[in-house]
Symmetry: C2
Subunit: 507 residues, 2 copies
């Protein structure tokens, strides 16, 4: 049996006994076979000594059990790595950032505590997947939508905490931004409720986001400051209709007015759907195509699309193709032809697209994404594309490593993501090249002022290095907070580049 | 000359010398006359020993000067109280929460660093008022709106940090929510940039809100965790038109479907303006009136209002009055008749309404507000109104203290504020009664699960007491963070109920 680094075998055995006492022996996993289930199938270090692996796992079913486990771990300085459902594949999955951590698996905490239809919100536990929440709503016939990301098996809480996003309307598809209120277990086992949740018998925990005084919720995003055990989300009342148009422009540099027009439309929320930009898409010679979906009452979305069409028409030579509105709830016919996530319906089709399925949990290969944030304007977009082209040969040593990019994601507010995809395999020598290329992109992009908004577990330190203003003042601030609220550094050591005191490079 | 509590006269004199060296002698204020300018004209303790007063003030003009002042204060444990423009009257104004603090007056830091029209954002310093930012934009003919609160002389940053709001469209009127990126000087003088600002040469500091890793910005809201020296804000592209309708309902309990319909319209952002609810408003016998303003392209707002009208028509007996759209930029005629803040134009008319003016900075009386958050549904609204009526006599001892309420504010997302206004005078015995009444309302409301989202400086502890879940776990978390990032507790001691270690009740 593996033992966490720096922990004696007897302390670890004692802690495991305490975990068993807290959650029941059947929910503490220590066999190699069980622990292997927590491996990250897309690890860029698969099978190498540097692969991040767990020592054990424990699966509580209530917040009191989480507290008991955290207290036992804290007393013996056992590193824990909380996961919700562990489905954030390509970002570490259910494997810890710090090898030897005990995975704190929250999938059994899968209660939908409330869905309020009249004010369109939900309160859930971390084990609730998008499927679970969707089914709960459907079974009760509630007239609200959720906003699922591509694969629907992930955790609603986990995705939000990881900074994930979906595909329906603004502002709901920014999952962290759409949350309202948290319950968190800190490193000493204390339970905190944020926002209005700190008021006993509060009636507005999911109705008022900011509460009173300093807002601490942000600390738990992409972080290791605590174990989130409940979280509220604002939902979208089912929109009457969805309409979409596609604008095509035919000159490379038309991207400049295209982005300017998109900014105008999105910044005033006339276009509220998740737009998609394609380069040279289709066979009709367009240099750029942009799809602009809109959600709302049918007469409103028609007017919005008409306005969008007029604005795009100012781009000389552009073409605009308007689709018929799709009414909700979807007819069976529509359901069979649309992209379901755009209609708040979770599914797993993205895996079919990538050649894998839930039946094949340990696929031969996957992808990881390099996700730099770049300004949302056409000049910068072209600059990034040229940067990619110019540096590709250097980054890959002239080899074809199967790197694909950049795809410009226009679905976040106000900025672009210049996504570059890297294949990940079970072949160590291939993975070594990919890792070197990934790290080189991080460096090269940072020199230009571009940095990533997320990173696979094994590159979280590399990316954190680029957020270095004033000798890493932001990291040092986070470290001070980390030391104050988790002084033994037991929770998710190293996550997003924040290490507890005893594991820092300078320690 | 007053000296901060716990500081020796010689240490204070030495610190003042260091402040003078940092900012120039003319920007350090110690005479009684100068320091009196920082008094809170609306203090509920006006002229009493408990009035919160400053010992001195210092006004730096650059972030380097702020750092120098903070370092000097930190070395000698001089309490500082940063203000932006100090105009948050009724919430403490420019007076410190902790008597004897040195006011760190940032009004000289009044640079508009950038207004980006293409992506509609601004980056400003704390001394920039709504007037300043408006003028900057107007002078350059930029096609973006700001969102001013009632009086336009306040600081854009200060208002956001205080959790203030304005009157234009969602989401811009939630001033803290609409910010993107900060620069903060911590208690040891270190400068931190948040979000993408932590990337050297970042191009997206005002374009991507969340950045990478734990989001610390929330810590600086209604708080004392640092001195914010720069802050970005997302602006609204000038909307083509404004349209407004007013729905009237004639039965008391029609408030229930009225709020349900409003939720539906607002939660899907069909109504995006700052709605206003009136009770028994007008002479036509309506029990409730609700004004629903909408901003956007003219054809879109017409469709939105039509949809809203249809939805409200489902309330039996309701009446809907539709106004003509108002086009922007405003004609002189329109400008003379509209409420300017609804059109992004800062002004001071609210003071004329309250019988005072900038010419009369020390008015005979003012108001303070009691601002409990209540759920946005009609049943709860009626319950709160009955609660007010039932308890008024007890709270006031049967006297007419001039308390007015409740006004139900519908301009925040998802929840209501049941605002109660209290007159404040320069008469100690009147103020004593008002204080007792205010504190009693806080207590009574908390018993029902209602708590305030803001409080006048002298009641910040009282309100903080009501956020007591799990033996004040949220406060204890904030205290641990405060101790970690401002260990000498020099910044804004006591603000929003967070005290540094040496000043806590249990110290």
């Amino acid at each position: 049996m593996a033992v966490p680094p720096g922990v004696s075998e007897s302390d670890f055995a004692a802690a495991l006994d305490e975990f068993r006492a807290a959650v029941g022996a059947e929910w503490v996993f220590t066999s190699d076979e069980d622990v292997a289930l927590y491996r990250d199938a897309y690890s860029p270090f698969w099978g190498e000594p540097e692969e991040r692996v767990a020592s054990a796992a424990v699966a509580p079913s209530t917040v009191e059990q989480v507290q008991a486990v955290v207290r036992a771990a804290n007393a013996r300085r056992i590193p824990l790595y909380p996961i919700s459902t562990g489905r954030n594949l390509a970002y570490g999955g259910s494997a810890p950032v710090y090898s030897g951590s005990v995975v704190l698996d929250l999938k059994r905490m899968n209660r939908v505590i409330e869905v309020n239809e009249a004010n369109a919100y939900a309160l859930v536990e971390p084990g609730v997947s998008y499927f679970d929440l969707y089914n709960y709503i459907e079974e009760r016939g509630l007239d609200v939508w959720i906003d699922p990301p591509d694969p629907g098996w992930g955790s609603v809480i986990g995705n939000a905490l990881d900074g994930g996003g979906g595909w329906t309307a603004y502002p709901f598809r920014d999952h962290f931004g759409a949350h309202c209120g948290m319950e968190v277990v800190l490193g000493d086992g204390e339970v905190v409720r944020t926002g209005m949740g700190a008021v006993p018998n509060s009636k507005t925990w999911q109705e008022n986001k900011w509460g009173y005084g300093p807002w601490v919720d942000g600390l738990f995003r992409q972080s290791n400051m605590g174990v989130v055990t409940k979280m509220g989300f604002w939902l979208m009342p089912r929109p009457e209709a969805y309409i979409s148009g596609t604008v095509q422009v035919f000159n490379e540099r038309d991207i400049i007015p295209l982005m300017e027009t998109l900014n105008l439309l999105e910044n005033q929320h006339v276009v509220n759907g998740s737009t998609q930009l394609g380069a040279g898409f289709g066979n009709d010679g367009a240099a750029w195509t942009l799809q602009v979906p809109i959600y709302g009452p049918e007469k409103v979305v028609r007017a919005q699309l008409e306005y969008a069409r007029e604005k795009f028409a100012a781009i000389e030579g552009s073409r605009f193709v308007e689709e018929d509105p799709i009414r909700t709830p979807l007819s069976d016919e529509d359901r069979a032809r649309v992209r379901l996530v755009n209609f708040g319906i979770p599914n797993l089709s993205t895996f079919a697209m990538l050649g894998r399925s839930p039946m094949q949990p340990n696929p031969p290969g996957g992808h990881i994404g390099f996700s730099p944030i770049i300004p949302r304007n056409g000049e910068e977009l072209l600059k990034f594309r040229d940067f990619y082209r110019t540096n590709l040969a250097e980054v890959t040593g002239g080899e074809n490593l199967g790197i694909v990019g950049p795809v410009f994601m226009t679905n976040w507010e106000r900025s672009l993501v210049g996504l570059i995809m890297f294949p990940i395999s079970k072949n160590a020598s291939e993975n070594r090249k990919i890792r070197a290329a990934f790290e080189r992109w991080v460096e090269l992009a940072a020199e230009q002022g571009w940095a990533e908004y997320r990173a696979p577990a094994v590159f979280q330190d590399t990316v954190a290095e680029t957020y270095s203003f004033n000798d890493h003042a932001l990291r040092r601030l986070r470290e001070r907070i980390k030391d104050a609220i988790d002084p033994n550094g037991i929770i998710s050591a190293g996550r997003y580049g924040v290490w507890p005191k005893h594991l820092r490079k300078d320690a």
